[in-house]
Every structure is written in C-alpha cells, then in structure tokens.
C-alpha cells in the first residue's frame, strides 16, 4: 500500500453540531404530519413540507461553517442518540457520523431537495394527491439523510431501505397507470437483489469484526484477511450496483422515469442513485485493502458509463435520454471510486456537480413537459414532437443550456472540471480505462447535443392543440439557482479545496502523473467532446427531424436497434434470471402437486380403489351368497379334517 488507510475516529458532537439529529428529524416530522394528518393538511401541507427541508439546509450550512472552523484532523464528530440494538454480542447505537463526506452530501441533499420541493409546488399544483406526494418526498429526504449520516452499516441500511421505499412509492405515484405500477415494482425487485448483497456484507462485517460500526471496522480492516475483504467489497459493490443502476442491475432506472419529473430529478438523478458511490467511498477502508474488488468496481463503472451513454443516444423520450445519461455519469463516479484514494474526492466532486446540472436538466425537462401538455392533459415526453422551443420557453432554455454545457464539459463549467479530473485520474491509472472514459465523454457530447437540437432548435413539430408557455416563477427560480450552481460548481476545485477537505475520509492520495501532460488531457477531452457535438449537429441539426423514428438501416442499423432496446438489458434479465427462475418455480409447483401430494393422497386413493373392487362382491344374487356359504362350509370341514388327521 502506498498510503495510509484513513481511520474513522470521531469525537463527540457539541455546539452547533449537536443539532445533527434535527437535520433528519425535520423532514421525518414533515412526512409524519402529512401522512397522519390526512386531508386536514391538504391546504398547507406542501408549504410545510417545503419549509422543513429548507430548515435542514440551514442547519447543514451552519454545521459546515462550524466544521470548516476546526482543524483538519478534528473534523469527524459522532452523535449518539440511543441504543438501537443490544443483544448478545451485537450492539448497535443509533449513532450519526458527521464528517467532510457527509457534510457535502447533506448540503447536496437538503439544498437540491429544497429547490425540488419548491419546484414541485408548481409542478404538482393541480394533482389531487399533492399532499401525499410531498409526504413521500419528505420521507425520502429523511431516509437519504439517515443513509449519509449513519455511523454504522446497520443504520445506513435503514436509510438505504427507506430511500428504496420512497423511490418505490414515488415511481408508482401515478399508480392508475399500469406502466407506472409495473416500473415501481421492477425498481423494487431489482433493488432487492442489490440489498441482498448489502445485507450479506453487513453480516460478514459483523462476523469478521464483531461490529458494524465504521469506527470499529476501519480500525480493524488491516487485520482481516484479504479474501474476506474482497468478498466484503464485492458484496458492497452488489448493493451499490442495485441502488446506483450499474450494470448488471441497471434495468430499472429507465423505467423509473414513469414517476413525476421532480422525483426523477431528486431521486433518480441527484441523490438516491448516487448512494452506491457514497457506499463505496465510505467503505474505502475495505476497498483499499481489496484490490480485486476495486478492479471489479472499475470494470462495472466503465461498462455502465458506456452502456448508459449508448442508450442515451437512441431514446426519443427526453426523460429516458436523461436517465441513460444519469447511468453513464454515475458510471464516471463509480470509476473514480474504483480508482482508490486518487479518485474518491473526484468521484464525490463529480457527484456534486452532477447533482446540480442533472437536477437542473431534469427539472427543465419537466418544465418542457409541462409546457407541451396536450388537450388530453398528459405531458408529452417525445422529443420528436418538440422543436424550436427556445423562443417559447426562454428561461427554461437558458437554464437548460447551462446544464448542457456543464454535462458535456464545456471549459469553465462545473462538469468540465469534475469530468476532466476523473478522466485524468483514469488515464494515470490505466490507459485502456482512461481511453474508454474519454470515449464516454465523446458520446455524452453526442447525445446531449442531440437532445438540445431536437428540443430547442429546428422546426416546430408540435402536436395539435399544444400551446407551449413558460412555467410559473415557482418553477423557474429553482431552475435559475441550479443553473448557477451548474456553472459555478467547479469553484469547489479551486486550490484543490475539495480534495484536501475530503482527505480525512478518503486518505492522502499519492499523485500519479498521467502519460501525457494534464493540459493535454483537458485539450484532448474537449476535442473528443467536440467531435461528438459536431456529429450530432451533422445528423440532427442540418436537416429536418422526422416525426417518427426512422427505420434503422445500413451497416450500423443493428447498433441503433440494440440501443433502442436498452442494449437488450431486459431481454438479458429475462433470459438469465426471470426465465430460469420461472422454470424453477414451475418445477417446484409440479413437484409439490404430483410428488408430495401424490404421497399424501396415494394411500387413501389405494384404499378407495380396493373398496371399489370389493363392493362388486355384493351383487345381490342369493345363489352366489349361498355358494360363498357352501364354499366356506367346505373349507371349514376340510380344515377340521386336516386338524383331526394331523
């Protein structure tokens, strides 16, 4: 090992930091009031639900200020709330850990969360179940905050399951649509696979270290065998794959777009899906010592970042393009997390900037859908029905453009700094990985430019009866704030602030020089992105866009078909898991029906068959009865004779 594994050794929380529990309690209170209060809270519930996260955000900011005022080696605090589990040798306290890593997450979750609550006031204004929506959003925030503030894997798991529940409830929020109900179920089931990995990891950690607390495990990780740590790492990765929609558990994220758009922005772009990255970075003491697991993380990350990007190129549904892009960007974060101490900080940095620009673009997409609502009251998501919207929705267009420039990594925008750093680190680590990451950046440029051209430029392809209009102020203000964050988010990197701030968590990285100079990496990245952008312009900017997707043709036709089918993710799942699973259940049912039931009912059936045969003896003919009597008498006589003679 070229560096020390950082140990979690927090001090007791005091002063402002003792308000830590309140950060979780406020949204939890909101959810409780709105869900228990029922219709009484219909009129003001959404306002309360928006005010509480803003309160949490205020506390988070105050705590960050307090933390920044402390020396770097004193920036981990723990707050013991109560003893949660105390049985046998398992002692788990409801402990909250506040350190630089959680502090950044806290700001992202409460900050972006508050803005999205604000936006939802406008977006969900006419929904009859608005109160319930806000209650679920608050529930989500409370669970997500528990996840990032947990001091042990068990408390983390509580939040982990909580966000899964909230995600399920919100994907299926419009439950009257069968597609939404099915998507919610799909997300829930695929997440169960990942959760199984995480729960096994917790059990293994308990068996190995006798505790599930980060403090104990990080201190004892050095003494555990590498095999154990590798298994632990792989199980944690499985959990992370489920929550973060990484290959092979990626199939749920595209369907999750059935939920209301603010949900897609908050849960399926900015926060919840990044929980997997958080888990890997938080468990750095495991991954640092398990090189195999780390390599697997990198492989999964690279596959996902290309997978998501390719899907993003072929979708006509604006939200699905953004969802594919989210998968791809989380792949970048995972890549950073898999690169070890050199990449952790950049993974978190990209996570934050992505949280800004992707939430911005999702909300922008929601604003467009809102504007494109047809006479049937359904928001249109098909980009082939958009076009030339930049004049109709100027504010949304400008803010969306900021997000666009940020995600493709236009120099100076936040995404440029974060993605550039990731590619640079990847190149320094492994040339193949670095080149693939670079390729992913080019594809990002392509599909995002395609989205921009289809939506904002070109000719009008609006449906009959659609009259686009700018969204109300309550929706555009969050867009403006997030756009500003997308532009200036890169400032966190100034003077290497974010890396040095996260150092107590991620450990000190030994810097590897990439094979080419750093400035050359930046130029190369921008050049590759430019190729993608120009490619998209040649295909979609120069000529009219057909209103129905053209048939795939030519040599690359199969690639288009594959990408339109999500690279056959569902088909693979069906073939490898669903089909065999159904076959096993069918076999079990048949075994039960024919073997087990056969054994149990066979005896009685045999007796019944015997009786059926036996009752034929009662034929009602007196003479046959007489024959039986005579035969019997003969037998008795012969028996008597035999006895006498013998």
């Amino acid at each position: 090992m070229t560096h020390d594994i950082p140990v979690v050794a927090p001090a007791e929380a005091d002063g402002v930091l003792s308000l830590l529990w309140l950060v979780i309690a406020l949204p939890a209170l909101g959810a409780a009031v709105l869900l228990l209060g029922g219709r009484l809270t219909d009129r003001w519930g959404h306002l309360l639900a928006t005010a509480l996260p803003i309160g949490s955000f205020g506390i988070s900011v105050a705590m960050l200020v307090e933390l920044l005022g402390r020396p770097a080696d004193d920036r981990q605090v723990v707050q013991h709330l109560y003893t949660w589990v105390d049985t046998g040798s398992l002692h788990v306290g409801a402990d909250l850990l506040y350190d630089p890593l959680s502090s950044l997450f806290l700001l992202l979750i409460t900050g972006v969360g508050s803005l999205i609550h604000l936006y939802s006031i406008g977006y969900m204004a006419h929904d009859p179940r608005r109160r319930r929506f806000f209650a679920y959003l608050n529930l989500f925030l409370a669970a997500m905050l528990t996840l990032v503030l947990a001091e042990s894997y068990l408390v983390l798991f509580l939040g982990w399951e909580g966000v899964g529940l909230a995600s399920y409830l919100l994907i299926g929020f419009w439950q009257h649509k069968p597609s939404a109900a099915a998507a919610a179920k799909k997300a829930f089931v695929i997440n169960r696979v990942g959760d199984m990995g995480l729960s096994l990891a917790i059990m293994l950690a308990f068996v190995t270290f006798g505790s599930v607390s980060f403090t104990v495990i990080s201190a004892g990780a050095g003494e555990a065998s590498e095999t154990t740590l590798t298994i632990l790492g792989l199980l944690l990765l499985l959990g992370a794959c489920g929550k973060s929609a990484q290959v092979p558990l990626q199939a749920w994220l595209l369907d999750a777009m059935e939920g209301p758009t603010p949900v897609s922005a908050l849960i399926h772009a900015a926060t919840m899906v990044t929980a997997g990255v958080y888990l890997v970075v938080r468990s750095n003491f495991v991954f640092e010592l398990a090189e195999v697991a780390q390599t697997v993380v990198v492989v999964v990350a690279v596959v996902t970042l290309l997978w998501g990007a390719v899907i993003g190129c072929a979708k006509d549904d604006i939200k699905k393009v953004l969802a594919g892009s989210t998968m791809s960007q989380i792949g970048y974060m995972m890549l950073g997390a898999g690169l070890g101490a050199a990449g952790y900080a950049f993974a978190i940095f990209h996570l934050l900037t992505h949280g800004f620009f992707k939430a911005n673009m999702f909300l922008g997409a929601g604003s467009v859908m809102h504007a494109m609502t047809g006479p049937d009251g359904e928001g249109d998501v098909d980009m082939r029905h958009y076009g030339a919207l930049r004049r109709a929705l100027p504010v949304t267009f400008l803010t969306f453009a900021m997000g666009y420039l940020a995600i493709i990594g236009f120099p100076g925008f936040s995404g440029f700094w974060s993605k550039d750093k990731l590619i640079e680190t990847a190149l320094a680590d492994n040339l193949v990985v670095g080149v693939l990451a670079l390729l992913g950046a080019g594809i990002t440029g392509f599909y995002m430019t395609r989205l921009m051209l289809l939506t904002w430029f070109g000719q009008r392809r609006w449906r009959e009866g659609v009259h686009p209009h700018e969204s109300p102020l309550v929706m555009t203000v969050p867009l403006v704030v997030l756009a500003a964050a997308s532009v200036f988010g890169g400032a966190m990197l100034l003077g290497g602030w974010v890396t040095s701030y996260l150092e107590p968590v991620t450990g000190h990285a030994v810097h590897h020089e990439p094979p080419i100079p750093v400035w050359a990496v930046s130029v190369l990245t921008v050049a590759v992105v430019a190729v993608g952008v120009v490619g998209a312009w040649l295909l979609f900017g120069r000529r009219p866009v057909p209103e129905t997707p053209p048939e795939p043709r030519g040599a690359g036709g199969w690639a288009v078909t594959a990408a339109r089918h999500d690279l056959y993710g569902d088909a693979i799942n069906d073939t490898l898991v669903v089909g065999p699973g159904a076959a096993v259940t069918r076999t079990l049912v048949d075994t039960d029906r024919y073997v087990v039931d056969g054994l149990l009912t066979g005896g009685p059936l045999g007796v019944a068959a015997l009786a059926e045969a036996g009752r034929r003896l009662q034929n009602g003919y007196v003479r046959s009865y007489a024959l039986s009597v005579a035969g019997g008498a003969v037998v008795v006589c012969l028996a008597l004779l035999a006895v006498t003679v013998a």
Binding site: R615, R616, Q618, N619, G620, Y621, V622, R623, A626, L627, A630
Partner: protein
C-alpha cells in the same frame, strides 16, 4: 361295513342333491324345497348316529331341527308369497335390489 353306513351315505347323497339344488335353481319354491331336503338329510344323519351311539341326543336334536324347519317354512313361504305378489315373479335372481 358298519350298519350305520348306508344311512350316512343316503344322508350325504340327499344333502348333496339339496345343496346343488339351492345353488343352481332359480325358482324360490324349488330352492326352498332343496333347503328342506338338506335339513332332512342332516336329520337322517343325526338319527343314524344316535342309533349307533345308543342314546337319544341325536334324536332330540332332530326334533329341534323339525320344529325350527316348521317355523322357517311359515316365515319363508310368507316372504316368497309377498315377493311374488309385488314382483309377479318367484325367481331368486330377480330379487337382487340389495347390492352395490
């Protein structure tokens, strides 16, 4: 050969005739008569053996058989009459309602 043997042989022959008659004939009256034949074959054997043993046990038993047979004839004929009246048939095979 013992002096009792011809009686026992006759008794056996009569019993066999009666037994075969019961088994093969269908007319209830004939079956009934065959039953009487078997009873009397038994009586003959009883009396013959009583004579051989020189006591009255067998003869008393024969009287009991006659009494029982008389009672049985009364009831049996009454049943046959009733069946004939209701079914216009005295065949034992026709009265086969009590079966599976």
């Amino acid at each position: 050969m013992d002096s009792v043997t011809p009686y026992v042989v006759l008794s056996a022959i009569l019993f066999t005739i009666g037994c075969v008659g019961v088994l093969v004939r269908r007319n209830a009256i004939v079956v009934f008569m065959c039953v009487e034949l078997m009873l009397n074959a038994a009586n003959l054997a009883l009396v013959a053996f009583a004579h051989q043993h020189g006591n009255l046990d067998g003869q008393v038993a024969a009287f009991f058989v006659m009494v029982v047979a008389a009672a049985e004839v009364v009831i049996g004929l009454a049943i046959i009459m009733t069946i004939y009246r209701t079914r216009r048939s005295a065949s034992v095979d026709d009265a086969s309602l009590l079966r599976w």
